[in-house]
């Protein structure tokens, strides 16, 4: 009882921190060179993607290895609407988010009946299949030759946002993603997701409509990734099926969430920031071995912090046990 009351008394604290971080994001922008600004913009985009994966993989426990499908779909919806129909970016953005969410609900219904590895593989298949469809719809999407989003001149439905504009766009989108996950985590919906994650039979026995709740989570995760894809397509100008549906984007989402702490609000943020900045730093300083070193660091991090960094720190604070071995024993299968 006391702890419930105590936690509600400090409930404003995370919100205050969130507002401060957002303000710091705006402040940081004024201090960055153009190259650095682009790097941070990419970090912010990965915060959105990591939170997207966190909803379905972290909270609900369905490891989606096809999450890039939503990203690619969002990007292509924006590209096609701006290129073919000359719709303004903001309309295309909304359409991308909604269509990705709808797509999540549509494929979620059959896919979320599968468990564990089967779901992971089926989701991967959906992403590959979506890319193939986009590639073959040449008349609509430009096919393998890609398409160019009109961004300059009188012809452009929405003028290019520029480095500063995209920084602000992805900063706000990241804030939106973190806010969404924060609200979900504290809500009835979030309790349903965590219950499903632990044991679906037990969850159903307590009245959780498991299918409905899972599909809603998948759809919401699709919305976030679709919005990110939309912004990315506009920023990239030239988009191709390969890079837009690159499986490596999914892998990065998974790694960021797992290292940071899956099923937590803060973990994916720390994972995205940490991994992207580390990757950039390694690329600049150890060009030849950068991928190898990064891979090694990821492996070590996963071994030492099996529940993710945030889970490790939380466990340490709660039990006073900071030994890495204890942490490994507690969270490893």
């Amino acid at each position: 009882m006391t702890s419930v009351l105590a936690s509600s008394r400090r409930a404003w604290l995370p919100w205050a921190v969130g507002v401060l971080v957002l303000a710091a994001g705006f402040g940081l922008q004024t201090q960055l060179y153009t190259d650095q600004e682009r790097v941070v913009t990419a970090v912010l985009m990965y915060v959105v993607l990591a939170q997207s994966w966190n909803l379905i993989g972290g909270y609900t426990g369905y490891a989606s290895f096809g999450q890039v499908a939503f990203f690619g779909l969002g990007g292509y919806v924006t590209g096609v609407l701006m290129w073919q129909l000359r719709l303004p970016f903001w309309w295309a953005l909304a359409a991308s988010g909604l269509l990705a969410a709808g797509f999540g609900a549509l494929i979620g219904l059959p896919l979320l009946r599968l468990k564990g590895h089967y779901f992971a593989i089926a989701a991967l298949g959906v992403a590959e299949g979506t890319r193939e469809v986009i590639t073959n719809l040449t008349s609509v999407t430009g096919g393998g030759g890609g398409l160019t989003v009109p961004t300059f001149g009188a012809d452009a439905p929405t003028a290019y946002l520029g480095n500063d504009g995209f920084y602000v766009f992805f900063l706000l989108l990241a804030a939106f993603a973190v806010l969404t996950v924060t609200l979900v985590a504290r809500s009835r919906f979030g309790f349903g997701l965590r219950a499903i994650n632990q044991d679906e039979d037990a969850a159903a026995a307590m009245g959780v409509p498991t299918t409905r709740v899972k599909v809603a989570a998948f759809s919401l995760s699709g919305l976030l990734a679709g919005l990110a894809g939309s912004g990315y397509a506009f920023q990239a100008v030239n988009i191709y099926p390969g890079p837009m549906f690159d499986v490596q984007i999914t892998v990065l989402m998974v790694v960021m969430v797992v290292i940071g702490g899956s099923g937590t609000v803060l973990g994916p943020v720390l994972g995205a920031v940490g991994l992207q900045l580390l990757s950039e730093w390694l690329r600049a300083n150890y060009t030849t071995y950068h991928t190898f070193i990064l891979g090694t660091i990821i492996v070590i991090a996963v071994v030492l912090f099996p529940g993710g960094l945030v889970t490790y720190v939380r466990g340490g604070l709660r039990t006073g046990q900071w030994s890495l071995l204890t942490s490994i024993r507690r969270y490893r299968l």
Partner: protein
């Protein structure tokens, strides 16, 4: 016990309930009804179909034949979450705690999604303490299930069920593996739930528990109803002793010695 209560609408009625797995009839042609407030013991040897029966009532399995009626309403084949919202609660034989959540959060799930669904997790967490109080777990609200003893894990399983404020409670071996000293509080709790008007089905191996708490005992054997009657009578029935305990126990021991012997 049987004749007098028949005028009331039974809380639970099963008609010709059956479930086949391939060629195996796990439950076959099961028919009986339970009037409100009764505590019914359901016993039978391993593989008699006890857990299958529970799963058929709660919707975790779909019957291949027959009907399940809750207060006269047909709930056959409804999904488990709908059955739960109709105030049918259950425990699982192999406990199913939500491991990544605290004991209090476990109970809150039922309060958030059950028939009295509260919309706010904060309110549900406060209400959860009332449920935990009832099963004697309130002091362990902040603990995760992995840190609980076997007996406390069973209490949590019970608390999760009680979060639905059930009218029908199915207890699938909540006392298995407990020491005699740990069984008594569970029996007390079942009696007090019954006194509140709850209808309880106690699926159990522990004979002494069944006798102590049940108004009536059903015996399942190979998926069928073997007998149905007052506990003492049923347990004295030679067919029951043979079917349930087997020849070995039937000859050398009384019915009371099965499984409740303290383990060293």
């Amino acid at each position: 016990m049987s004749g007098a209560a028949d005028t009331e609408t039974p809380v639970l009625e099963v008609r010709g309930l059956g479930r086949r797995f391939g060629g195996l009839h796990a439950v076959a042609d099961l028919s009986f009804s339970v009037p409100p407030g009764q505590v019914v013991g359901v016993i039978g040897p391993n593989g008699a179909g006890k857990s299958t029966f529970v799963n058929l009532v709660t919707g975790h399995l779909k019957p291949t034949s027959g009907q399940v009626l809750l207060e006269g309403q047909d709930i056959t084949g409804e999904p488990p979450w709908k059955v739960a919202r109709a105030r049918v609660a259950r425990t699982f034989q192999i406990v199913k705690p939500l491991r990544g959540m605290t004991v209090r959060e476990n109970v809150a799930v039922g309060l958030l999604y059950g028939p009295d669904a509260s919309r706010h997790s904060g309110a549900a967490l406060r209400l959860a303490d009332e449920v935990l109080e009832r099963v004697g777990l309130v002091a362990l609200g902040d603990v995760t299930p992995g840190e609980l003893t076997v007996a406390d894990a069973r209490r949590l399983e019970l608390a999760k069920a009680l979060a639905l404020r059930p009218k029908l409670l199915l207890l699938d071996e909540v006392m298995a593996g407990l020491r005699p000293g740990e069984i008594e509080p569970s029996l007390e709790l079942i009696r007090s739930l019954s006194a509140d008007g709850m209808t309880v089905l106690v699926i159990e191996h522990v004979m002494r528990a069944i006798v102590a708490v049940s108004d009536r005992v059903l015996v399942l054997h190979q998926g069928r109803l073997l007998t149905d009657g007052p506990p003492r009578e049923v347990l004295a029935d030679p067919r029951v002793i043979e079917a349930y305990l087997g020849h070995r126990y039937g000859r050398t021991h009384g019915a009371d010695t099965d499984r409740e012997q303290p383990r060293d």
